[in-house]
Symmetry: C2
Subunit: 445 residues, 2 copies
């Protein structure tokens, strides 16, 4: 902290990145400077802004900031003596990770929104922060403005979290909500999402669930005090979800959502395991997550003592994400003022991560079958042969070629048994095609 | 902190009170001792439990706790050298306040669930905590297990909160939800709530809005960095809400909820003011708060950058409230371990509190009128005479005595103008009775 005799104390901030979020962070730091100073007990002063291209106009003048704050030497900026806190909103893995390690080495605290980096390197970064007695905050990495990291890490620190189920990707939620509302097919709605700015030119990270998987890894790590990486997360995207699936879900009083699920459970041997998975799933319309529509995010939590909680809000966007960054920045700054620190990374539990095959889930299976006697018996036989109990069977209107559509909901069974059943169904003569396999979540059966 | 050479560090906890919440806190401290130790970095050990009657069996044996932990000398317990953190779940104003001040004087941190005490004495208690460089945490005082104090105080510390609107009283929400679902009158549902344990023998604090007003004062204080006391909160209860009101609300696609509203606004002179108020209000069914039913609580927040957020969960009950207490206890303990401290009380903004008359609200007015030409014109005239703009007029089915029921929704207007209009309506010849006056919240008109 820089001491200015006779003046208010200052804390220096290095801003890495000046994209949508970075620009909003700079704006808030300038516009709310007095309030922030009162809340922190020191003035937050931007010492420099690291960008790739220092020539581009970034609206600094309108904010009353000097253009000379821009630098393309992020390493030098992070190392400056008058920088106390580094705000990383540049994204990417390298050189971002190295810059953060440099920051910790120099005793600076770091606030980041970088989910991909955290989902891979939280352990290394947290260790570096601990060694330096500095803070690593990352509320903005999951679900934008919605406070979810802090509630899990602090508010529920005396409880035992059993389930986190989140709608944490706005693009896919926009697509699925619109498919449900208008009955349009996936490809049409994806195009519309791109046109409206809800989907990127290459939507792979969103629609294939990579983005949600990173967030699931971060949420599971915190909820279960166990290191979970993106690769530990079972991942399925929404590209296979059809208008017919959404129709069928409605018939079961359900809607389809891309969920990031983090679950703690006791396996057959009595040991605790955790599971982290991302897939599109049927959710009963009465479940609080079912009504979270459009680009909104929500995170549903079940804890032993707190019971069922839900956090809802804007999951993306410059200003909402900047709000989360600013909350962390104020926390890190308050800690600098009192020479304290925030909650340390907690990974003591080291719970083993269960492969998807061992996880108990419910399946929704839609198939085209020949329309003759004995079909249901042959199909049901494949389920019972693998100890999978059927909850509901629904035969839908005959298809044009005189076949029929059979939709089955199962009770909970190990995912491996369910997926083996589906493979067996595909080989049955009476089954023309297994058109859809989705899970059903948010029920207690 | 007690140092045991060669052993894990210990932190001593004094538990004041052993009611529903206290018993759950003791249970969690015992059952989750190892996890808590790993999360805190020190073992949390109960040094004593202050109760009025030390003879009563409180299930300590089942928890493996010695009966000798019970004491009726709370002052001595709080003052013990081996007590680091005081958990106050005994309730009441005195001797509770004095005990908390003693705790701070001795450098101990305090975790409390005492909304009535906080709504009156937060300033004094926070000053004592600051002086001692100790922590005062109170997540459990508002909305049970739902993290709402910490999100407002920390997650949104870099944002500007504009509105907090909460369903923060489970008793009244149970009553209003049941009235809406079954169409039963208030008195019948209140009895049912009492029978099911959702309402106390004397339900005054809940149904007259005193409980919600305490919580509104706490929420407003934190959200606006301004000291707001329970007396500053405008308060109306739900005893006057009728089945007819709920019917009429449905006709406007609304439901009726008891809301605790904390709002920051700019007055006519351009100055910022805050308002805190509790009353039953019509809420559009599409608003996230409308679907919060039964004994659940929810807090809706609007902030300049974060946008709209909502926090939802169990608002009362032993285990949920204990979960919130435990989160605070872990936070206070972590701070003791690193000799740090949590966020200090922040009341720098000192915004003036607007009297209810100056607050802009929308009114719902139901009245019995004589069924003859010119009635609507006479009624409308009283609104326009006070610059109150009418949004919707609905004439309901004729009443048995050949009168009619007129229901009017207004646009936003100063509450004083609205209430003057209602007084004038009562004096009109054509108005037999003004049967109901409620506000409409959760719209942008």
């Amino acid at each position: 902290m820089t001491e200015n005799p006779g003046q208010t104390k200052e804390l220096g901030v290095a801003l890495l990145g000046m994209g949508t979020v970075g620009a909003e962070v700079a704006r808030i730091l300038v516009e709310n400077a007095d309030d922030l100073a009162a809340r922190v007990g020191a003035r937050l002063v931007i010492r420099g802004i690291a960008v790739r291209n220092t020539e581009r106009d970034r609206g600094l003048k309108e904010l009353g900031l000097k253009k000379s704050l821009l630098t393309d030497d992020a390493e030098a900026l992070v190392g400056r003596d008058d920088v106390d806190i580094v705000v990383e909103v540049m994204g990417g893995i390298e050189p971002t990770r190295s810059l953060m390690l440099s920051a910790f080495k120099a005793g600076k605290s770091v606030v980041t929104a970088n989910k991909a980096l955290l989902a891979e390197y939280t352990g290394q970064l947290a260790d570096a922060a601990n060694k330096a007695r500095a803070d690593l905050y990352f509320e903005a990495a999951v679900a934008g403005a919605i406070p979810v990291i802090r509630p899990l890490q602090q508010s529920l620190a005396g409880d035992s979290v059993e389930l986190v189920a989140g709608i944490v990707n706005g693009t896919t939620n926009f697509i699925l909500s619109n498919m449900a509302e208008h009955g349009d097919p996936y490809e049409i709605v994806l195009k519309e999402a791109g046109r409206l700015g809800y989907a990127e030119a290459d939507p792979t990270a969103d629609v294939e669930g990579y983005d949600a998987a990173s967030k699931a890894a971060i949420l599971a790590s915190i909820a279960f005090h166990t290191r979970v990486k993106a690769d530990d997360v079972h991942r399925e995207g929404i590209t296979g979800v059809t208008a017919a699936d959404i129709e069928a879900a409605k018939a079961f009083d359900c809607t389809i959502k891309l969920l990031a699920i983090c679950e703690k459970f006791t396996d057959a041997s009595g040991a605790q395991r955790v599971s982290a998975r991302v897939y599109p799933a049927l959710v009963p319309v009465k479940h609080p997550l079912a009504s979270v529509d459009g680009a909104y995010n929500a995170v549903f939590v079940e804890a032993e003592n707190a019971g069922r909680l839900m956090f809802y809000g804007a999951g993306a966007g410059g200003a909402p994400t900047a709000s989360a960054v600013m909350g962390d920045l104020v926390a890190a700054a308050r800690n600098k003022v009192v020479s304290g620190r925030g909650p340390r990374d907690s990974a003591y539990a080291k719970l083993p991560i269960a492969p998807i095959g061992e996880v108990l889930t419910r399946y929704y299976v839609a198939m085209e079958v020949t329309d003759r006697p004995g079909v249901l018996s042959a199909v049901a036989n494949e389920f019972s042969a693998r100890d999978v109990s059927i909850s509901t069977v629904r035969q839908q209107a005959d298809t044009p070629d005189q076949g029929a559509r059979l939709v089955i909901l199962t009770h909970k069974a190990p995912d491996a048994a369910l997926s083996a059943t589906v493979e067996a169904l595909k080989k049955l003569d009476v089954v023309t095609a297994v058109s859809s396999v989705l899970r059903l979540e948010g029920t207690n059966d």
